[in-house]
């Protein structure tokens, strides 16, 4: 109420240089104390920002939710017999439990790998991620054992290395650590960021 009194006192002062009323019919706008304007603007900003800030915080949740750096588990993918040592890559699905936001899916396909054993060193198992390191398309294996990406024509040798200078992929196919247990091949399945020269695991 004393505010109204203050307004009254302020009325005669007019700032012609400052914004004038659009119609201009009822005289110039009264100059208000700086404090009133500051307060009004501050409160206005606060009430507008708080709900938006809460929402933004929630929306940025994926940045906070990351898996530990402990390394992905080894997952049994195929038996040794399924990968004859002939140097040809073979495609296998990776089956694991998957947590998709609120849903827990027990034992569902979470990705795929190429497994390959060479004639020379049959005890060595090469596991390659099927995702193209260029921009993430699914890489195809060709009959001669090399790889080709259907999206931007990245090409890779059968050991995963870049096959041609014109290949747009910044790095070769991503190898994954493997282990054998009795006759089972286990792969440490892990996704990597694409488009980078370095292999950066997606946690």
């Amino acid at each position: 109420m004393d505010e109204e009194a203050r307004e009254g006192a302020d009325i005669p002062a007019v700032d012609p240089a400052h914004e004038g009323p659009p119609g201009g019919s009822d005289g110039g706008p009264p100059r208000r104390t700086f404090l009133t304007k500051l307060l009004a603007a501050t409160i206005g900003a606060v009430v507008a920002i708080i709900p938006a800030a809460v929402g933004l915080f929630v929306a940025l949740e994926p940045l906070r939710r990351r898996r530990g750096k402990d390394g992905a588990p080894f997952i049994p993918v195929a038996s040794l017999d399924a990968v004859p040592p002939d140097g040809m890559p073979r495609l296998f699905r990776v089956i694991a439990d998957r947590q998709d936001a609120w849903n827990r899916h027990p034992k569902v396909p979470v990705g795929a790998v190429y497994l390959r054993r060479s004639r020379e060193k049959p005890e060595e198992i090469l596991a390659l991620h099927t995702t193209c390191p260029h921009l993430g398309c699914f890489v195809n294996a060709k009959p001669d054992g090399s790889f080709h990406c259907p999206c931007h024509d990245s090409s890779f040798n059968s050991d995963g290395s870049i096959a041609s200078l014109r290949s747009p992929s910044p790095r070769g196919l991503d190898p994954l650590p493997t282990r054998t247990e009795k006759t089972m091949i286990l792969v440490q399945f892990q996704d990597f960021e694409t488009g980078l020269e370095d292999r950066v695991p997606i946690l």
């Binding site: 307004e7 009323p21 009822d26």
Partner: protein, 794 residues
């Protein structure tokens, strides 16, 4: 001084857009008579709506509209996303604030007569906005797809079906078919987040435009000089909005927006009520019996709205305006009265209060299950459907409580009016329960056989004459037989006791079968079957008495020759006559046996289902002093420590001094005594004190990260590793399920090759150590954050 460049840029924009003019027009609106607090209501409404648009968008980012994912996505936001609960709370309470502010706004307009020419049109637009806001509230209520929203929406949509002529078709279109499901959610969501906000923006813009055109409605001729909207009125509006926001934030922090159990058409929900601002309509409907419901549902609300639309016309006359004011006040008064009436009636309605508690227990329970077990793709509703703690008491109340009791109640916290005509099944087959059954003073009370045909049967006769006359030696035998019989049940709550008393139980089994000897046998096989021995038919088979299979078979067919044969007293053959499906029988059996998932960190949530179900006793921690079980007059046999196996527990002694009622009361809830030093007798064990030493001594040397390469990929050094599926797919530890946990299987394996730890590495685990791990896993395998185990070397 403004830089010329900036001003030139501003001028350029102004020339091309006229932006400056628009902003000025908005900010420098004339306010005749100066700014006032009473002008803030409209602005707070615009503000609350803006808050809803903002928070609504962010909620949208996480919401998945389908019957199988709506509840689940809201759960994820509410309980597993940081800040999600606050965001939802703001949206929830701002919606309610909006209703309140709207009422105040309408009230002010009517009282001031601000609906009169030239403002009639704007008044009507205001009424449309009011309806849109109510529709937003109604559609939003369903979206979490929980029991609350589901049943309230069912009622609301069924009301639309009452609309003459088009009602049923209208409902079908709104619901998206004949049944409530995916399409109901998608449709309500599209309305709530699409069409309704769009209309709201449209009509708000029109409303504000017309308001600006007509100017503020001034009540009296102004005494103070005119002012402009910015900054005086903006400041007042801002303060009002801040107050609203503060109230909303406080409410959201104090009481998060509710999320009940997921919607299920098969689960009764007697706690169904609309949001509070619709309570008056809800109550109104109760006043219209039978076919006249349509009056409460459609005609009266319709007429009220019609009358409100006519207010500007009526208000042209002085008397008409007075009538309008009277009308709006009596309308508000009536609504307030009906609301209070609804609340008062519900408060006094025990049935409703019980339903609310049950609904809250379900809501908490599903939260625990979703958190610890994960939500299967079929949706969270399946978690509750398969949960014995949730379903057991409900099935019991529906099918068993007409005759039986559970702790004197019907399973759902209600004490039936009629006296029980069969035994009280709380703690069935436990030592206490059997002790009472074999007590001459109690067997023929209503707690056991008192109200059944067995009251005059052979068993009651045997207990009352033979058992009553037992000498101390036979009384000791009875104690051991009781323990042996109870051990047949394999109750989770007695696992520790059964293990501790293994020797006594073994003796008890022999005594149960034998006739004489030392200690003297009890010759139960005269009537009962036990294992391979005895003759069937006269009494129930005692093989596996009270075990899961036994109980399921019994409930399925009590008249089977294994059980009561033709002597079965009125108990329905639930399975044999297909009264209950197999799953329901299993659920009620599991519940009676106390077999259900126990959460990891009980402290994270208030105790589950406390008002609804009573977990079978036996949970008493060891700290509790040993209870002198028998009345003081009785020369109680002191409980000797473990060394002395042939211990008699006092209640087994014939206790002629006891009155049946008081005895059964006190004994039934008496905690089992125990001599173990630091380990709690049953229930959860402490990780750091009991579990960690075992794992660190026996497991982590190989199954850890400490220097040596883990022999197996299986690692037990962190909780994450221990719960992670290994090479064979199974995780080493499945919280809550010791039976499914690989670790437990491997440490107990009979196969030398398979058993852990391998013979060349370390000794096998003792039964006590095994039981500690088992109990730890069954209690959800709590593992404090961040603890990494290091080998201690054995």
């Amino acid at each position: 001084m403004t830089t010329p460049l900036l001003r030139r840029l501003g001028d350029a924009v102004e020339q091309r857009t006229g932006l400056r003019r628009i902003v000025r027009a908005l900010l420098y609106e004339n306010i005749p008579g100066g700014s006032r607090w009473r002008y803030v209501w409209g602005s707070t409404l615009v503000f609350t709506f803006t808050v809803q648009l903002i928070t609504g968008f962010f909620l949208w980012l996480g919401y998945s509209p389908s019957a199988q994912t709506a509840w689940e996505s809201v759960y994820y936001l509410e309980h597993e996303t940081a800040g999600g609960s606050l965001l939802r709370g703001i949206h929830h309470y701002t919606a309610q604030a909006m209703i309140l502010l709207l009422v105040l706004h309408v009230l002010q307009v009517v009282i001031d007569g601000a609906y009169r020419a030239p403002r009639e049109l704007n008044f009507w637009i205001g009424l449309i906005l009011l309806l849109i806001v109510l529709a937003l509230g109604l559609t939003g209520y369903l979206l979490p797809w929980d029991q609350k929203g589901y049943w309230a929406t069912k009622v609301a949509t069924n009301l639309t079906a009452m609309t003459p002529v088009v009602g049923e078709d209208m409902k079908r279109v709104v619901v998206g078919g004949a049944e409530y499901g995916h399409t109901t959610v998608t449709r309500f969501f599209a309305m709530h987040a699409g069409l309704l906000p769009f209309l709201m923006i449209l009509f708000t813009a029109l409303h504000v435009y017309l308001f600006r055109r007509h100017g503020i409605h001034v009540r009296r001729s102004p005494r103070a000089p005119d002012t402009t909207f910015w900054p005086d009125q903006v400041l007042k509006d801002g303060v009002a909005c801040l107050a609203v926001l503060a109230a909303v934030l406080l409410l959201a922090a104090w009481q998060p927006a509710p999320l009940m159990a997921p919607a299920s058409p098969s689960e009764p929900y007697s706690a169904a009520r609309p949001e509070w601002y619709f309570l008056f309509l809800f109550q109104l409907l109760k006043l219209f019996p039978g076919k006249s419901t349509i009056w409460g549902a459609i005609y009266i609300p319709g007429l009220v709205l019609l009358f409100m639309a006519l207010m500007p016309i009526l208000g042209r006359w002085r008397l008409g305006h007075a009538f309008n004011v009277m009308f709006i006040f009596s309308l508000l008064g009536g609504a307030a009265f009906l609301t209070v009436m609804a609340v008062v009636q519900d408060r006094a309605n025990e049935e409703y209060q019980l339903a609310v508690r049950g609904a809250e227990a379900d809501a908490k329970r599903v939260r625990v299950l979703a958190r610890d077990l994960g939500i299967p793709p079929a949706g969270a509703v399946t978690l509750l459907e398969a949960d014995a703690l949730t379903q057991g008491p409900k099935i019991f109340a529906r099918h068993c409580a007409a005759c039986h009791r559970h702790g004197g109640e019907d399973g759902l916290g209600k004490t039936p009016e009629e006296a029980p005509s069969a035994s009280d099944l709380q703690g069935f087959a436990s030592r206490q329960w059997l002790t009472g059954l074999l007590d001459p003073a109690r067997i023929d009370t209503p707690h056991y056989f008192g109200a059944t045909a067995f009251k005059d049967g052979d068993m009651v006769d045997f207990v009352k004459s033979t058992v009553a006359a037992y000498d101390p030696a036979r009384a000791r035998s009875l104690s051991m037989v009781t323990k042996a019989l109870s051990a047949e049940a394999g109750l989770k709550s007695q696992r520790e006791l059964d293990r501790r008393d293994a020797a006594e139980i073994e003796t008890g089994r022999l005594l149960l079968e034998s006739r004489r000897g030392d200690p003297p046998g009890l010759n139960c096989l005269r009537c009962h079957t036990f294992g391979e021995n005895g003759k069937a038919g006269k009494g129930p088979d005692l093989t596996g008495y009270g075990s899961r299979d036994w109980l399921i078979d019994f409930i399925s067919d009590p008249a089977h020759e294994r059980f009561y044969s033709e002597e079965n007293d009125r108990m329905p053959r639930y399975g044999a006559e297909e009264i209950l499906d197999r799953r329901s029988v299993e659920l009620v059996a599991d519940w009676l046996r106390g077999e259900w998932y126990v959460p990891t960190e009980e402290s994270a949530l208030p105790p589950e289902g406390a008002p609804v179900v009573q977990a079978p006793e036996d949970r008493a921690p060891v700290a509790q002093p040993p209870v002198a079980q028998a009345p003081a007059a009785q020369p109680a046999v002191t409980e000797a420590p473990l060394a002395q196996p042939a211990v008699t527990e006092a209640p087994v002694e014939p206790a002629p001094a006891k009155t049946p009622e008081s005895a059964s009361e006190t004994e039934e809830r008496r905690p089992e005594e125990d001599g173990a030093p630091s380990l709690p007798e049953s229930g959860p064990v402490d990780f750091a004190a009991h579990v960690q030493p075992i794992l660190e001594t026996h497991c982590v040397k190989c199954h850890g990260s400490s220097g040596r390469k883990p022999k197996g990929e299986l690692r037990l050094d962190t909780r994450e590793n221990a719960l992670k599926p290994g090479e064979s797919g199974d995780p080493p530890i499945t919280p809550g399920k010791s039976g499914e946990s690989r670790v437990l299987r491997l440490i107990q394996s009979q196969d030398e090759e398979e058993r852990m730890p391998p013979a060349d590495i370390g000794r096998s685990l003792t039964p006590l150590e095994v039981s500690v791990l088992e109990r730890w896993i069954d209690s959800g395998a709590p593992w404090p954050e961040g603890i990494v185990l290091r080998s201690r070397g054995s």
